[in-house]
């Protein structure tokens, strides 16, 4: 596909177009990570970019997550606009020192002298039978860290349009791409040039009046499907796509809950201490007296992700479990 592609594209193609577009517009931009070049990207996202932009700007790295993430920080300080790809979130643990102790703190430690315009992309999520070490969903966990912006594109428009504003952000931005979305496709909205999208605000993907389902990324589609099911039962579900996990768009969350007076928060992280807990707490703090029912959460079971398909399915939020949680919240009465 080309940079100006319109019509139906896959999530993978949308990200590739965004990368190509950024590489074409700003010579300070380069992509660095494991197998982004000759291999074509572990998930074929960067396929073809090496031929177009060469090995300097499509830079294969050794298996050294800490060093190449830290090198991204240094390159950003040195005037470049690096896009560092960590193949999957599971390996980002090896780079957490650089992310938390350097990327997120240098602006502060230097008293505002040195900002770090770095973008880090990584695949996140479960659902492909990759088992305990390859199925983490940690984007909500990263959202705990001040100094970072955390984005989670769930649509082809966001996959296409979040990269450029992320690169324009003077501070570090982490973009989490859910592994099950790469092959999904959608119609790219008409749009000119960079097709930048607003990365500050959540978006209502489906308006509804009975209950708010608040989610993002890999669980957006499941939530929309659940909403369809419930529509058939006469329950009118609003689905809010957070899009940004840090900062959280609290106004949009409270606005939706103010309309529906009921909320179910859905995410693929482990339940305890996940982002859904934060959202539940904020709703309690901001809309307690408007609530007709306690905020409910649908998250991943507190277990390392099992390999066996039926167990993995049971561990993750599913259309049925989301629908069940919504029914309960609607039935409940304050």
């Amino acid at each position: 596909m080309t940079t100006t592609a319109t019509g139906t594209v896959t999530y993978r193609e949308a990200i590739r177009a965004a990368l190509r577009d950024a590489l074409q517009r700003d010579e300070r931009v380069f992509l660095m990570g494991e197998d982004v070049g000759r291999y074509g990207g572990c998930f074929a996202v960067s396929k073809g970019l090496l031929d177009e932009f060469g090995p300097e700007r499509i830079r294969d790295t050794p298996l050294s997550e800490s060093a190449f993430v830290g090198a991204g920080i240094g390159a950003a300080l040195g005037g470049m606009r690096p896009i560092v790809e960590i193949m999957t979130v599971n390996f980002s643990l090896l780079a957490l020192d650089q992310i938390m102790n350097n990327a997120a703190t240098i602006l502060h430690m230097s008293g505002g002298q040195l900002n770090v315009p770095l973008v880090i992309r990584m695949t996140t999520g479960a659902g492909r039978q990759l088992a305990a070490q390859h199925s983490h969903s940690l984007e909500g966990w990263f959202a705990h860290i001040p100094g970072l912006r955390i984005l989670a594109p769930a649509t082809v428009d966001d996959a296409r349009g979040m990269l450029w504003p992320a690169l324009e952000d003077p501070d570090p931005v982490l973009i989490f791409e859910h592994g099950t979305l790469y092959n999904s496709s959608g119609v790219l909205s008409e749009g000119e040039g960079d097709r930048s999208v607003d990365i500050e605000h959540a978006v209502v993907r489906r308006a509804g009046s009975d209950v708010s389902v608040i989610t993002y990324g890999g669980t957006l589609d499941k939530s929309l499907q659940a909403a369809e099911v419930l529509a058939g039962e006469g329950v009118d579900v609003e689905v809010l796509d957070l899009r940004s996990l840090r900062p959280l768009d609290t106004d949009a969350i409270l606005g939706s809950v103010a309309r529906t007076r009921r909320a179910v928060v859905v995410d693929e992280g482990w339940r305890s201490g996940g982002i859904s807990a934060e959202i539940s707490a904020r709703i309690t703090e901001g809309a307690f007296y408007e609530l007709d029912a306690p905020v409910s959460r649908v998250c991943t079971a507190e277990v390392p992700i099992p390999y066996a398909k039926h167990l993995e399915d049971a561990a993750l939020p599913q259309v049925a479990t989301i629908a069940a949680a919504v029914r309960e919240v609607v039935r409940a009465d304050g």
Binding site: E34, D35, G37, R38, Y39, G40, C42, D60, T61, P62, L63, S64, E65, S66, A67, N90, F91, L94, R128, Q129, L130, A131, A132, Q133, H134, A301, E302, V303, P304, P306, Y307, A308, K309, H310, L311, A314, A315
Partner: protein, 322 residues
């Protein structure tokens, strides 16, 4: 039959087992019986088979996500491995781990680690436990040459050498880490030389020659068991297949693969045995037949396996529910 001949037949049998087992895995993957990531060892069989000959039942093995061969050569039953990849309770990891996480405590087979370099510190710790308990055991740790760039490699090598722990580091140098050639990941491409910089004895070995691998492994294991501290083996080998089932192999030429296939460890060793007059007319066919039967049984065992009840989802998170 002479002891030597018996042993050679054993080596051949083991390599063929691994080869045919994985060939069957490919079919079963296409048939969607096996899912997730599947990393094949085809072409590298001489390494696992050769090294395992040097180990006793009390020794320990730590491997990677490309570990079918190591598990089979260590004696983990083919059926329990296949059942694991089918996600069945009868699997060697109860269906929780899959292809990348084969475990067998009874054989001191400590997995099955899917984080590149992640197994090295654990191997060092297993060796530390043996050293502190004055047990004459050795821990063998397998990893690819791509892991050499990881900080965990550096820290583990130093700790093992500093504390003179009984570890044999077996670096399977198949020249590529996914699509990244060694020359694009290391400023010093002689990994044995790198290892030596930790003050650790390190040798390079032809990983396509099962006997060379066995000889090197035996000397390393003996030296380690004798209190010589950790040793490092670079096993020069090649991956005949794609990195995993999703790899278009854009990064290497078919000719290069073909050249290495001419050094296929199995035919190569068959030639050696022929020259030694150790193979009767039907011997190889006999091995193939035995292996085919074993694999058929393994698949049947896996097919007949049971799914774990969904109610047990949160088992094995803590020992209270294990």
């Amino acid at each position: 039959m002479s002891e030597n001949q018996e042993h050679d037949l054993h080596l051949l049998h083991e390599m063929v087992r691994i080869r045919r087992f994985e060939e069957r895995c490919i079919e079963l993957y296409s048939a969607t019986k096996i899912r997730g990531f599947l990393h094949l060892y085809i072409g590298e069989e001489a390494v696992a088979v050769g090294v395992m000959q040097a180990l006793g039942p009390d020794d320990a093995v730590v491997a990677t996500y490309r570990e079918h061969g190591h598990a089979l050569a260590r004696g983990v039953p083919a059926g329990s491995i296949m059942a694991e990849m089918f996600g069945k309770v009868e699997g060697c990891s109860h269906g929780r781990g899959g292809s990348m996480h084969l475990f067998d405590a009874s054989r001191r087979f400590y997995g099955g680690n899917a984080i590149v370099g992640g197994g090295l510190p654990v191997a060092v710790g297993l060796a530390l436990a043996d050293a502190m308990q004055h047990r004459p055991r050795v821990t063998v740790c397998f990893f690819g040459e791509g892991a050499v760039a990881e900080g965990e490699f550096h820290e583990s090598m130093n700790l093992a050498a500093l504390w003179k722990l009984p570890v044999v580091f077996c670096c399977e140098n198949n020249l590529y880490a996914m699509g990244t050639a060694l020359s694009r990941s290391e400023s010093e491409t002689d990994v044995a030389l790198k290892a030596a910089s930790f003050e650790m004895p390190a040798w390079s070995v032809d990983g396509m020659d099962v006997e060379a691998v066995e000889r090197a492994a035996v000397s390393a294991v003996d030296a380690v068991r004798g209190g010589g501290g950790p040793h490092f083996l670079e096993l020069r080998t090649y991956r005949f297949r794609a990195h995993s089932m999703y790899d278009p192999e854009l990064y290497r030429a078919k000719e290069e693969v073909d050249r290495w296939k001419e050094r296929d460890p199995i035919p190569a060793f068959i030639d050696v045995m022929r020259a030694r007059d150790e193979l009767g007319s039907g011997t190889v066919d006999g091995i193939e037949a035995a292996v085919a039967a074993e694999i058929d049984d393994a698949v049947a065992f896996a097919e007949a396996g049971t799914d774990e009840p969904v109610e047990d989802l949160t088992r094995f998170v803590t020992s209270r529910r294990a």
